[in-house]
Protein backbone atom coordinates (compact mmCIF):
# COMPACT_ATOMS: atom_id res chain seq x y z
CA UNK A 1 0.00 0.00 0.00
CA UNK A 2 2.51 2.57 1.04
CA UNK A 3 5.24 3.62 -1.32
CA UNK A 4 8.71 2.81 -0.05
CA UNK A 5 10.53 5.68 1.57
CA UNK A 6 13.44 7.10 -0.36
CA UNK A 7 15.78 6.97 2.63
CA UNK A 8 17.29 3.62 3.48
CA UNK A 9 15.53 1.82 6.32
CA UNK A 10 17.12 1.74 9.75
CA UNK A 11 18.64 -1.45 11.14
CA UNK A 12 15.69 -1.69 13.54
CA UNK A 13 13.22 -1.45 10.67
CA UNK A 14 15.05 -4.11 8.65
CA UNK A 15 15.08 -6.39 11.67
CA UNK A 16 11.36 -5.84 12.31
CA UNK A 17 10.59 -6.50 8.64
CA UNK A 18 12.45 -9.84 8.89
CA UNK A 19 10.63 -10.75 12.11
CA UNK A 20 7.29 -10.34 10.34
CA UNK A 21 8.03 -13.58 8.49
CA UNK A 22 7.07 -15.31 11.74
CA UNK A 23 3.40 -14.45 11.11
CA UNK A 24 1.14 -16.63 8.94
CA UNK A 25 1.52 -15.68 5.27
CA UNK A 26 -2.05 -14.42 4.83
CA UNK A 27 -1.73 -12.07 7.81
CA UNK A 28 1.70 -10.86 6.69
CA UNK A 29 0.48 -10.15 3.17
CA UNK A 30 -2.53 -8.20 4.41
CA UNK A 31 -0.85 -6.10 7.07
CA UNK A 32 2.94 -6.53 6.74
CA UNK A 33 3.49 -3.26 4.88
CA UNK A 34 1.31 -1.29 7.30
CA UNK A 35 2.99 -2.87 10.33
CA UNK A 36 6.42 -1.90 9.04
CA UNK A 37 5.16 1.60 8.37
CA UNK A 38 3.69 1.86 11.87
CA UNK A 39 6.88 0.49 13.40
CA UNK A 40 8.82 3.13 11.46
CA UNK A 41 6.56 5.86 12.86
CA UNK A 42 7.01 4.56 16.41
CA UNK A 43 10.76 4.26 15.93
CA UNK A 44 10.97 7.81 14.61
CA UNK A 45 8.99 9.09 17.58
CA UNK A 46 11.20 7.31 20.11
CA UNK A 47 14.37 8.41 18.35
CA UNK A 48 13.17 12.03 18.39
CA UNK A 49 12.73 11.76 22.16
CA UNK A 50 16.39 10.77 22.28
CA UNK A 51 18.27 8.12 24.15
CA UNK A 52 18.86 4.46 23.60
CA UNK A 53 16.53 3.71 26.50
CA UNK A 54 13.47 4.79 24.54
CA UNK A 55 14.49 2.60 21.59
CA UNK A 56 15.04 -0.33 23.97
CA UNK A 57 11.59 0.27 25.49
CA UNK A 58 10.05 0.23 22.03
CA UNK A 59 11.75 -3.04 21.17
CA UNK A 60 10.64 -4.54 24.46
CA UNK A 61 7.02 -3.69 23.64
CA UNK A 62 7.32 -4.82 20.03
CA UNK A 63 8.96 -8.16 20.86
CA UNK A 64 6.49 -9.15 23.57
CA UNK A 65 3.65 -8.07 21.27
CA UNK A 66 5.17 -10.04 18.42
CA UNK A 67 5.50 -13.28 20.40
CA UNK A 68 1.94 -13.05 21.68
CA UNK A 69 0.30 -12.10 18.41
CA UNK A 70 2.23 -14.60 16.28
CA UNK A 71 0.84 -17.32 18.58
CA UNK A 72 -2.68 -15.86 18.34
CA UNK A 73 -2.64 -15.64 14.56
CA UNK A 74 -1.35 -19.22 14.21
CA UNK A 75 -3.91 -20.42 16.73
CA UNK A 76 -6.73 -18.84 14.72
CA UNK A 77 -5.30 -20.31 11.52
CA UNK A 78 -5.12 -23.72 13.21
CA UNK A 79 -8.70 -23.47 14.46
CA UNK A 80 -9.92 -22.71 10.94
CA UNK A 81 -7.86 -25.62 9.56
CA UNK A 82 -9.11 -27.98 12.27
CA UNK A 83 -12.72 -27.04 11.58
CA UNK A 84 -12.22 -27.69 7.89
CA UNK A 85 -10.70 -31.14 8.68
CA UNK A 86 -13.51 -32.14 10.97
CA UNK A 87 -16.23 -30.81 8.73
CA UNK A 88 -17.30 -28.26 11.33
CA UNK A 89 -16.04 -25.49 9.13
CA UNK A 90 -18.23 -26.51 6.23
CA UNK A 91 -21.31 -26.47 8.39
CA UNK A 92 -20.29 -23.17 9.87
CA UNK A 93 -19.55 -21.68 6.48
CA UNK A 94 -23.05 -22.35 5.34
CA UNK A 95 -24.49 -20.41 8.21
CA UNK A 96 -22.29 -17.50 9.05
CA UNK A 97 -19.05 -17.26 7.11
CA UNK A 98 -18.07 -13.75 6.27
CA UNK A 99 -16.34 -13.49 2.92
CA UNK A 100 -14.09 -10.47 2.66
CA UNK A 101 -12.52 -9.64 -0.67
CA UNK A 102 -9.60 -7.37 -1.37
CA UNK A 103 -9.79 -6.62 -5.08
CA UNK A 104 -7.74 -4.73 -7.62
CA UNK A 105 -8.15 -4.54 -11.38
CA UNK A 106 -5.74 -3.15 -13.89
CA UNK A 107 -5.61 -3.00 -17.65
CA UNK A 108 -2.98 -1.70 -20.04
CA UNK A 109 -2.98 -1.13 -23.76
CA UNK A 110 0.39 -2.93 -24.17
CA UNK A 111 1.92 -2.29 -27.56
CA UNK A 112 -1.39 -2.16 -29.40
CA UNK A 113 -3.12 0.81 -31.00
CA UNK A 114 -6.20 0.37 -28.82
CA UNK A 115 -7.26 -1.57 -25.75
CA UNK A 116 -9.90 -4.18 -26.58
CA UNK A 117 -9.85 -5.78 -23.13
CA UNK A 118 -12.64 -5.10 -20.68
CA UNK A 119 -13.35 -6.08 -17.11
CA UNK A 120 -16.01 -5.60 -14.49
CA UNK A 121 -16.68 -6.64 -10.94
CA UNK A 122 -19.71 -6.53 -8.70
CA UNK A 123 -19.67 -7.09 -4.97
CA UNK A 124 -23.25 -6.68 -3.70
CA UNK A 125 -23.65 -4.43 -0.68
CA UNK A 126 -26.98 -6.05 0.15
CA UNK A 127 -26.18 -9.04 2.39
CA UNK A 128 -29.13 -11.00 1.00
CA UNK A 129 -27.94 -10.64 -2.59
CA UNK A 130 -24.39 -11.44 -1.51
CA UNK A 131 -25.60 -14.56 0.30
CA UNK A 132 -27.61 -15.70 -2.71
CA UNK A 133 -25.48 -14.70 -5.69
CA UNK A 134 -21.98 -13.95 -4.34
CA UNK A 135 -19.48 -11.53 -5.89
CA UNK A 136 -18.80 -11.53 -9.63
CA UNK A 137 -15.62 -10.80 -11.58
CA UNK A 138 -15.42 -10.80 -15.37
CA UNK A 139 -12.56 -10.26 -17.83
CA UNK A 140 -12.98 -10.25 -21.61
CA UNK A 141 -10.57 -9.86 -24.50
CA UNK A 142 -12.07 -8.40 -27.68
CA UNK A 143 -10.91 -10.45 -30.62
CA UNK A 144 -7.79 -9.28 -32.43
CA UNK A 145 -8.54 -8.70 -36.09
CA UNK A 146 -12.15 -7.87 -35.36
CA UNK A 147 -12.73 -4.20 -35.85
CA UNK A 148 -14.99 -3.84 -32.84
CA UNK A 149 -13.26 -6.02 -30.31
CA UNK A 150 -13.64 -3.41 -27.60
CA UNK A 151 -17.40 -3.16 -28.22
CA UNK A 152 -17.74 -6.94 -28.00
CA UNK A 153 -15.73 -7.26 -24.78
CA UNK A 154 -17.63 -4.40 -23.14
CA UNK A 155 -20.97 -5.85 -24.19
CA UNK A 156 -19.85 -9.24 -22.83
CA UNK A 157 -18.77 -8.10 -19.36
CA UNK A 158 -21.82 -5.86 -18.86
CA UNK A 159 -24.30 -8.43 -20.16
CA UNK A 160 -22.83 -11.22 -18.04
CA UNK A 161 -22.97 -9.03 -14.92
CA UNK A 162 -26.53 -7.78 -15.48
CA UNK A 163 -27.95 -11.12 -16.60
CA UNK A 164 -26.32 -13.04 -13.77
CA UNK A 165 -27.75 -10.81 -11.03
CA UNK A 166 -31.19 -10.64 -12.65
CA UNK A 167 -31.41 -14.41 -12.96
CA UNK A 168 -33.19 -16.10 -10.08
CA UNK A 169 -31.82 -19.59 -10.65
CA UNK A 170 -30.60 -21.06 -7.37
CA UNK A 171 -27.72 -22.92 -9.00
CA UNK A 172 -24.75 -20.57 -9.40
CA UNK A 173 -23.08 -22.45 -12.25
CA UNK A 174 -26.30 -22.70 -14.26
CA UNK A 175 -26.97 -19.01 -13.72
CA UNK A 176 -23.41 -18.09 -14.74
CA UNK A 177 -23.50 -20.29 -17.85
CA UNK A 178 -26.84 -18.78 -18.90
CA UNK A 179 -25.40 -15.27 -18.47
CA UNK A 180 -22.42 -16.11 -20.73
CA UNK A 181 -24.71 -17.75 -23.30
CA UNK A 182 -26.94 -14.67 -23.28
CA UNK A 183 -23.89 -12.43 -23.89
CA UNK A 184 -22.93 -14.70 -26.78
CA UNK A 185 -26.41 -14.42 -28.27
CA UNK A 186 -26.43 -10.61 -28.06
CA UNK A 187 -23.03 -10.27 -29.74
CA UNK A 188 -23.99 -12.83 -32.39
CA UNK A 189 -27.23 -10.91 -33.13
CA UNK A 190 -25.25 -7.69 -33.53
CA UNK A 191 -22.90 -9.50 -35.92
CA UNK A 192 -25.87 -10.80 -37.91
CA UNK A 193 -27.15 -7.23 -38.27
CA UNK A 194 -23.74 -6.04 -39.40
CA UNK A 195 -23.46 -8.81 -41.98
CA UNK A 196 -27.04 -8.32 -43.18
CA UNK A 197 -26.55 -4.68 -43.99
CA UNK A 198 -22.91 -4.84 -45.03
CA UNK A 199 -22.37 -3.68 -48.57
CA UNK A 200 -18.61 -4.09 -48.68
CA UNK A 201 -15.94 -6.45 -47.41
CA UNK A 202 -14.72 -3.65 -45.19
CA UNK A 203 -18.09 -3.49 -43.45
CA UNK A 204 -18.19 -7.26 -43.07
CA UNK A 205 -14.97 -7.01 -41.08
CA UNK A 206 -16.96 -5.07 -38.48
CA UNK A 207 -18.18 -8.44 -37.12
CA UNK A 208 -16.90 -8.82 -33.60
CA UNK A 209 -15.97 -11.44 -31.05
CA UNK A 210 -14.55 -11.76 -27.58
CA UNK A 211 -13.25 -14.22 -25.04
CA UNK A 212 -14.52 -14.10 -21.48
CA UNK A 213 -13.79 -15.55 -18.08
CA UNK A 214 -16.26 -15.01 -15.25
CA UNK A 215 -15.84 -16.04 -11.63
CA UNK A 216 -18.38 -15.94 -8.83
CA UNK A 217 -17.07 -16.10 -5.29
CA UNK A 218 -19.60 -17.26 -2.73
CA UNK A 219 -18.62 -18.54 0.69
CA UNK A 220 -15.67 -20.88 0.11
CA UNK A 221 -16.44 -21.65 -3.54
CA UNK A 222 -15.18 -20.14 -6.78
CA UNK A 223 -17.56 -20.82 -9.68
CA UNK A 224 -15.98 -20.34 -13.10
CA UNK A 225 -17.30 -19.97 -16.63
CA UNK A 226 -15.06 -19.26 -19.58
CA UNK A 227 -14.88 -19.19 -23.35
CA UNK A 228 -11.57 -18.65 -25.16
CA UNK A 229 -8.14 -18.09 -23.67
CA UNK A 230 -8.83 -15.65 -20.84
CA UNK A 231 -8.06 -17.67 -17.73
CA UNK A 232 -8.21 -17.70 -13.95
CA UNK A 233 -5.44 -18.75 -11.59
CA UNK A 234 -5.67 -19.63 -7.91
CA UNK A 235 -2.62 -19.17 -5.71
CA UNK A 236 -2.85 -21.24 -2.54
CA UNK A 237 0.06 -21.56 -0.12
CA UNK A 238 2.65 -20.86 -2.80
CA UNK A 239 1.06 -23.22 -5.34
CA UNK A 240 -0.48 -21.98 -8.59
CA UNK A 241 -3.39 -23.73 -10.33
CA UNK A 242 -5.10 -22.62 -13.51
CA UNK A 243 -8.76 -23.54 -13.08
CA UNK A 244 -10.44 -22.36 -16.30
CA UNK A 245 -10.18 -24.27 -19.58
CA UNK A 246 -7.98 -22.74 -22.24
CA UNK A 247 -9.49 -22.87 -25.71
CA UNK A 248 -6.22 -21.91 -27.38
CA UNK A 249 -5.82 -24.09 -30.50
CA UNK A 250 -2.77 -26.19 -29.49
CA UNK A 251 -4.03 -26.70 -25.93
CA UNK A 252 -7.48 -27.74 -27.13
CA UNK A 253 -6.11 -30.17 -29.74
CA UNK A 254 -3.80 -31.72 -27.16
CA UNK A 255 -6.67 -32.10 -24.70
CA UNK A 256 -8.79 -33.82 -27.36
CA UNK A 257 -5.90 -36.11 -28.34
CA UNK A 258 -5.73 -34.72 -31.86
CA UNK A 259 -2.00 -34.01 -31.48
CA UNK A 260 0.71 -35.53 -29.31
CA UNK A 261 2.54 -33.72 -26.52
CA UNK A 262 5.62 -33.66 -28.73
CA UNK A 263 3.71 -32.02 -31.56
CA UNK A 264 2.19 -29.53 -29.12
CA UNK A 265 5.62 -28.61 -27.76
CA UNK A 266 7.01 -28.23 -31.26
CA UNK A 267 4.21 -25.96 -32.38
CA UNK A 268 3.88 -24.02 -29.12
CA UNK A 269 0.98 -21.77 -28.23
CA UNK A 270 -0.75 -20.00 -31.12
CA UNK A 271 -2.78 -16.82 -31.13
CA UNK A 272 -5.80 -18.79 -32.38
CA UNK A 273 -8.71 -19.87 -30.21
CA UNK A 274 -11.24 -22.55 -30.99
CA UNK A 275 -14.30 -20.71 -29.66
CA UNK A 276 -15.37 -17.20 -28.74
CA UNK A 277 -18.50 -15.21 -27.98
CA UNK A 278 -20.31 -13.82 -31.02
CA UNK A 279 -19.17 -16.29 -33.65
CA UNK A 280 -22.21 -18.60 -33.59
CA UNK A 281 -25.70 -18.44 -32.11
CA UNK A 282 -24.71 -20.99 -29.47
CA UNK A 283 -21.47 -21.48 -27.60
CA UNK A 284 -20.01 -24.27 -25.49
CA UNK A 285 -19.22 -22.63 -22.14
CA UNK A 286 -16.74 -24.33 -19.82
CA UNK A 287 -17.94 -24.29 -16.20
CA UNK A 288 -16.34 -25.56 -13.01
CA UNK A 289 -16.41 -25.06 -9.26
CA UNK A 290 -13.36 -24.98 -7.00
CA UNK A 291 -13.00 -24.62 -3.25
CA UNK A 292 -11.02 -21.63 -2.02
CA UNK A 293 -9.45 -21.10 1.37
CA UNK A 294 -8.66 -18.16 3.58
CA UNK A 295 -5.68 -16.28 2.14
CA UNK A 296 -6.03 -17.62 -1.42
CA UNK A 297 -5.56 -15.22 -4.30
CA UNK A 298 -7.37 -15.39 -7.64
CA UNK A 299 -6.05 -13.79 -10.81
CA UNK A 300 -8.40 -13.39 -13.76
CA UNK A 301 -6.43 -12.35 -16.81
CA UNK A 302 -6.29 -12.13 -20.56
CA UNK A 303 -3.67 -13.95 -22.63
CA UNK A 304 -1.73 -10.69 -22.79
CA UNK A 305 -0.72 -11.50 -19.22
CA UNK A 306 -0.48 -15.26 -18.78
CA UNK A 307 1.50 -15.90 -21.98
CA UNK A 308 4.21 -13.50 -20.80
CA UNK A 309 4.62 -14.37 -17.13
CA UNK A 310 5.76 -17.65 -15.64
CA UNK A 311 3.39 -19.08 -13.04
CA UNK A 312 6.21 -18.98 -10.48
CA UNK A 313 6.61 -15.24 -11.02
CA UNK A 314 2.85 -14.74 -10.81
CA UNK A 315 2.91 -16.55 -7.49
CA UNK A 316 5.91 -14.63 -6.20
CA UNK A 317 4.26 -11.26 -6.93
CA UNK A 318 0.91 -11.97 -5.25
CA UNK A 319 2.63 -13.61 -2.27
CA UNK A 320 4.66 -10.45 -1.68
CA UNK A 321 2.22 -7.70 -2.43
CA UNK A 322 -1.37 -6.74 -1.80
CA UNK A 323 -3.82 -6.94 -4.72
CA UNK A 324 -3.49 -3.29 -5.77
CA UNK A 325 0.28 -3.47 -6.03
CA UNK A 326 0.17 -7.05 -7.39
CA UNK A 327 -2.11 -6.09 -10.29
CA UNK A 328 0.18 -3.24 -11.29
CA UNK A 329 3.32 -5.35 -11.00
CA UNK A 330 1.82 -8.25 -12.96
CA UNK A 331 0.90 -5.94 -15.83
CA UNK A 332 4.26 -4.15 -15.62
CA UNK A 333 6.13 -7.48 -15.83
CA UNK A 334 4.10 -8.54 -18.87
CA UNK A 335 4.99 -5.23 -20.49
CA UNK A 336 8.67 -5.67 -19.64
CA UNK A 337 8.56 -9.09 -21.26
CA UNK A 338 7.39 -7.67 -24.54
CA UNK A 339 3.67 -7.11 -23.95
CA UNK A 340 2.56 -7.19 -27.59
CA UNK A 341 -1.10 -7.54 -26.61
CA UNK A 342 -3.49 -5.67 -24.30
CA UNK A 343 -2.92 -6.81 -20.73
CA UNK A 344 -5.62 -7.13 -18.06
CA UNK A 345 -5.49 -8.55 -14.55
CA UNK A 346 -8.09 -8.71 -11.80
CA UNK A 347 -6.53 -9.78 -8.51
CA UNK A 348 -8.84 -10.98 -5.72
CA UNK A 349 -7.60 -11.92 -2.26
CA UNK A 350 -10.03 -14.10 -0.35
CA UNK A 351 -10.48 -13.72 3.38
CA UNK A 352 -12.85 -16.17 5.03
CA UNK A 353 -13.71 -15.28 8.60
CA UNK A 354 -15.71 -17.52 10.83
Amino acid sequence: MATAPLRSPSLSERLYRDLLWLYPASFRRSYGCEMVQTFRDCYREERARGGALNIARLWSLVLSDLITTVCIEYWKTFITFFKSLTGLEKEFLMTSTILNLDVAQYTHIGHRASNEDNMTLYIPEDPQIMAKKGALFVVADGMGGHAKGDVASELAVNTIRDTYYQDTNEDILTSLRLAVEHANMLIWQKNEEILRYATSDEQKKMAMGTTCVATVLKNDKAHIANVGDSLVYVIHAGQVSQIAQSHELTTEQLRKGEITEEEAKKRGLTNKITRCLGEKSTVDVYVATETVQDGDTLILCTDGLWTLIEESEMCSIVEQYEPQESAKRLVARANENGGPDNITAVVVRVSLQS
Partner: protein, 125 residues
Amino acid sequence: MNKAKREPEALLPLTPAVFHILLALADAERHGYGIMQEVALRTGGKMRMGPGTLYGSLKRMLADGLIEESGERPDPALDDERRRYYRLTDFGLRVAQAEARRLSELVHVAQFKRLLGGAESIGGA
Protein backbone atom coordinates in the same frame (compact mmCIF):
# COMPACT_ATOMS: atom_id res chain seq x y z
CA MET B 1 -19.76 -7.11 3.25
CA ASN B 2 -22.22 -9.89 3.70
CA LYS B 3 -22.94 -9.16 7.30
CA ALA B 4 -26.31 -10.26 8.49
CA LYS B 5 -28.13 -7.88 10.81
CA ARG B 6 -26.75 -8.49 14.27
CA GLU B 7 -27.32 -7.13 17.72
CA PRO B 8 -24.35 -5.14 19.11
CA GLU B 9 -24.70 -6.95 22.45
CA ALA B 10 -23.76 -10.21 20.74
CA LEU B 11 -20.15 -9.02 20.53
CA LEU B 12 -19.84 -7.91 24.16
CA PRO B 13 -17.71 -7.81 26.18
CA LEU B 14 -15.03 -6.36 23.90
CA THR B 15 -11.34 -6.86 24.47
CA PRO B 16 -9.55 -3.75 25.80
CA ALA B 17 -7.68 -3.36 22.50
CA VAL B 18 -10.87 -3.46 20.42
CA PHE B 19 -12.70 -0.99 22.68
CA HIS B 20 -9.75 1.40 22.67
CA ILE B 21 -9.62 1.26 18.86
CA LEU B 22 -13.36 1.93 18.63
CA LEU B 23 -12.95 4.91 20.97
CA ALA B 24 -10.00 6.21 18.95
CA LEU B 25 -12.09 6.08 15.78
CA ALA B 26 -15.26 7.50 17.39
CA ASP B 27 -14.41 11.10 16.50
CA ALA B 28 -12.16 10.80 13.45
CA GLU B 29 -10.80 8.53 10.75
CA ARG B 30 -7.28 7.47 11.62
CA HIS B 31 -4.46 5.34 10.25
CA GLY B 32 -2.77 2.64 12.33
CA TYR B 33 -0.15 4.86 13.92
CA GLY B 34 -2.79 7.56 14.47
CA ILE B 35 -4.88 5.04 16.42
CA MET B 36 -1.85 4.15 18.55
CA GLN B 37 -1.16 7.83 19.27
CA GLU B 38 -4.78 8.54 20.20
CA VAL B 39 -4.97 5.53 22.52
CA ALA B 40 -1.69 6.52 24.22
CA LEU B 41 -2.90 10.13 24.57
CA ARG B 42 -6.31 9.24 26.06
CA THR B 43 -4.82 6.80 28.54
CA GLY B 44 -1.86 8.93 29.58
CA GLY B 45 0.48 6.39 27.97
CA LYS B 46 -0.80 3.52 30.13
CA MET B 47 -2.26 1.60 27.21
CA ARG B 48 0.42 0.89 24.65
CA MET B 49 -0.42 -1.39 21.75
CA GLY B 50 2.17 -3.13 19.63
CA PRO B 51 1.68 -3.38 15.84
CA GLY B 52 0.70 -7.06 16.09
CA THR B 53 -2.11 -6.37 18.56
CA LEU B 54 -3.27 -3.36 16.58
CA TYR B 55 -3.43 -5.05 13.18
CA GLY B 56 -4.68 -8.38 14.54
CA SER B 57 -7.55 -6.44 16.16
CA LEU B 58 -8.16 -4.35 13.03
CA LYS B 59 -8.33 -7.52 10.93
CA ARG B 60 -11.04 -9.05 13.13
CA MET B 61 -12.89 -5.74 13.47
CA LEU B 62 -13.00 -5.42 9.68
CA ALA B 63 -14.32 -8.97 9.47
CA ASP B 64 -16.97 -8.22 12.11
CA GLY B 65 -18.04 -5.09 10.28
CA LEU B 66 -17.10 -2.78 13.17
CA ILE B 67 -14.79 -0.67 11.04
CA GLU B 68 -14.08 -0.13 7.38
CA GLU B 69 -11.23 1.23 5.32
CA SER B 70 -11.70 4.79 4.13
CA GLY B 71 -8.93 4.97 1.54
CA GLU B 72 -5.26 5.80 1.45
CA ARG B 73 -3.67 9.21 1.71
CA PRO B 74 -0.64 10.85 3.28
CA ASP B 75 -0.82 12.32 6.78
CA PRO B 76 0.38 15.92 6.42
CA ALA B 77 1.55 15.90 10.05
CA LEU B 78 3.99 13.07 9.37
CA ASP B 79 5.38 12.79 5.86
CA ASP B 80 4.29 12.15 2.27
CA GLU B 81 3.88 8.38 2.66
CA ARG B 82 0.41 7.09 1.87
CA ARG B 83 -1.36 5.54 4.84
CA ARG B 84 -4.49 3.43 5.01
CA TYR B 85 -7.21 5.09 7.07
CA TYR B 86 -9.93 3.33 9.06
CA ARG B 87 -13.32 4.57 10.27
CA LEU B 88 -16.23 3.28 12.34
CA THR B 89 -19.22 1.71 10.63
CA ASP B 90 -22.72 2.36 11.96
CA PHE B 91 -22.62 -1.11 13.48
CA GLY B 92 -19.21 -0.34 15.06
CA LEU B 93 -20.64 2.82 16.61
CA ARG B 94 -23.58 0.90 18.06
CA VAL B 95 -21.22 -1.74 19.48
CA ALA B 96 -19.03 0.97 21.04
CA GLN B 97 -22.13 2.60 22.59
CA ALA B 98 -23.35 -0.75 23.93
CA GLU B 99 -19.95 -1.50 25.47
CA ALA B 100 -19.79 2.00 27.00
CA ARG B 101 -23.26 1.46 28.55
CA ARG B 102 -22.20 -1.93 29.87
CA LEU B 103 -19.07 -0.48 31.49
CA SER B 104 -21.02 2.48 32.83
CA GLU B 105 -23.45 0.12 34.56
CA LEU B 106 -20.48 -1.73 36.08
CA VAL B 107 -19.05 1.56 37.33
CA HIS B 108 -22.41 2.32 38.98
CA VAL B 109 -22.25 -1.04 40.74
CA ALA B 110 -18.68 -0.28 41.87
CA GLN B 111 -19.83 3.09 43.21
CA PHE B 112 -22.78 1.50 44.98
CA LYS B 113 -20.38 -0.97 46.61
CA ARG B 114 -18.29 1.99 47.75
CA LEU B 115 -15.31 0.98 45.64
CA LEU B 116 -15.16 4.41 44.03
CA GLY B 117 -15.59 8.00 45.13
CA GLY B 118 -19.19 9.26 45.00
CA ALA B 119 -20.59 6.17 46.70
CA GLU B 120 -22.29 8.31 49.34
CA SER B 121 -24.51 10.10 46.93
CA ILE B 122 -25.47 6.93 45.12
CA GLY B 123 -25.58 4.61 48.05
CA GLY B 124 -27.40 7.14 50.20
CA ALA B 125 -24.98 6.67 53.15
